[in-house]
């Protein structure tokens, strides 16, 4: 190989690597990200069972039921809709009825959301941003809750 060819092949190699990385990134953006929904969106969105999504809203008052071991079921609600959620694991410290929560997981065939992670707000001044925004849109956001 001449010097020039050598250099070209190196540049081609680098470009190939960058191309592969870019392709991978695009693929991952399409496949490995999850959309965020509020209960009100769920009715229209028709999320297929098995697709990973995030679901946020308020933990409905009186909906938390503790089952066997660390099994918990509760409902995530906003003003328009409520979605039943089941979760196995430890709930975060600040998980409380009437408070904002974001869960991540998939819907089962029956429309129940099977969460594999639950995030609650981290102090009383903080609410998951998506939840706060959506609740503001729905006009039920109360800034100061005690």
């Amino acid at each position: 190989m001449t010097r020039k060819q050598k250099r070209l092949s190196i540049i081609a190699g680098a470009l190939g690597f960058l191309g592969a990385a870019t392709a991978l990134t695009f693929y991952a953006l399409g496949q490995k990200t999850s959309y965020f929904y509020m209960p009100a969106d769920i009715a229209n969105a028709a999320v297929p069972p098995g697709q990973r999504v995030r679901l946020g809203g308020l933990v409905e008052d009186g909906s938390v039921v503790r089952g066997q071991g660390s099994q918990v079921s509760f409902a995530v609600a906003d003003t328009e809709n409520r979605v039943p959620v089941v979760y196995v694991g430890l709930l975060p410290d600040l998980f409380r009825e009437g408070q904002g929560v974001v869960t991540e997981g998939t819907f089962d065939a029956g429309g129940t959301f099977v969460a594999d992670s639950v995030l609650a707000k981290h102090d009383e001044n903080y609410m998951p941003k998506e939840v706060a925004d959506s609740l503001k849109e729905q006009g039920v956001w109360q800034h100061a809750q005690e």
Partner: protein, 375 residues
Amino acid sequence: MVFWLFLALLTIAASLAVLLPLARRPQTHVPASAHDLEVYRDQLAEIERDRQRGLIGESEAEEARAEIGRRMIKLEAAGTEGSARASRFLPIVAAGAVLGVPLLSWGVYATIGSPDLPAQPLAQRLEKDPRDNTLDELVARAEGHIRANPEDGRGWNVLAPIYLRLNRPEDAVVAYRNAIRLLGSDAARETGLGEALFAEAGGIVTKESADAFRRALEAGGNDNPKARFYLATAQAQEGRLEEAVAGLTALMGDLPQASPWRGVVGQALARAQAELGAPVAGGPSSDDVAAAAQMNAEDRAAMIETMVASLDERLRDNPADADGWRRLVRSYSVLGRKDDARQALERGLKALGADSEAGQELRDFAGTLGLGAVE
């Protein structure tokens, strides 16, 4: 005075930092290339060290030396820049900076600083004459005293109702418990404890709270409308509506005509009766269970309304309570009673003075609740 002197000293120090190098005779100029050469010479020395250690071979070292040599030659070929010269701008820039630093800093500080406001370390504030203390400071002093003498039952007894009034129910619970532990149980303390627990639980008569009210009745007899009212409320919350109605009816009968409790008790009674009268058909279905849950929530809402009403009442008597107005406005807006919230805001602004600081804060606060400004 000392303060201003200090600021002046700081300003002088800052100005000197600018001024001194300008006043001093400049150091002899060292061309930039001399610094580069220093680095290249060190690189040559490093190659020599590496070669001696055997980290690189002789030929590699030779090549590297040649490369560094080329860099040095290039550097010399580029020539050395002209020697130091005084800038035409020197006087302008120097004068601008020497004047600008003090002027800018004093100007900015004059607009944003609070030079008249002394520092207020907490320890120092608590030591001053009690007559100058604000209510908050008095409470803090009492707290300090109680922390030092945690076995002083009378201290706890004084603090407890104040906490309750200041809307610090957790502290009130602790204070009432300590007062009861040290001074013994009596009707007033147990009633207060019950009320504090009720407030702490966010408007629900918990079992603990009900127990306290019961002890209050045992200790002080039946002439305690507050305890009886809360106990009836507890029964209503648990769905034991008949008992609640019976209790409230009895209480209503015992209350003198002028009692401030008549209104609240009457409302609660009416509500309990209404719920009791609700038709119950057939066996319990899932719908019924859901409805019961719903009723409970309504019950709770009714409870909150009662509390709001009594807050409203209190503010009519004692309107100079900015915190109270805030709570009232918020409560109405949480309950969705926007008109009432707006009215409360107007009343609050009138009571506090619309242009006062407290009034301003109340207005801002109302703004965050989505209540538009009122004129």
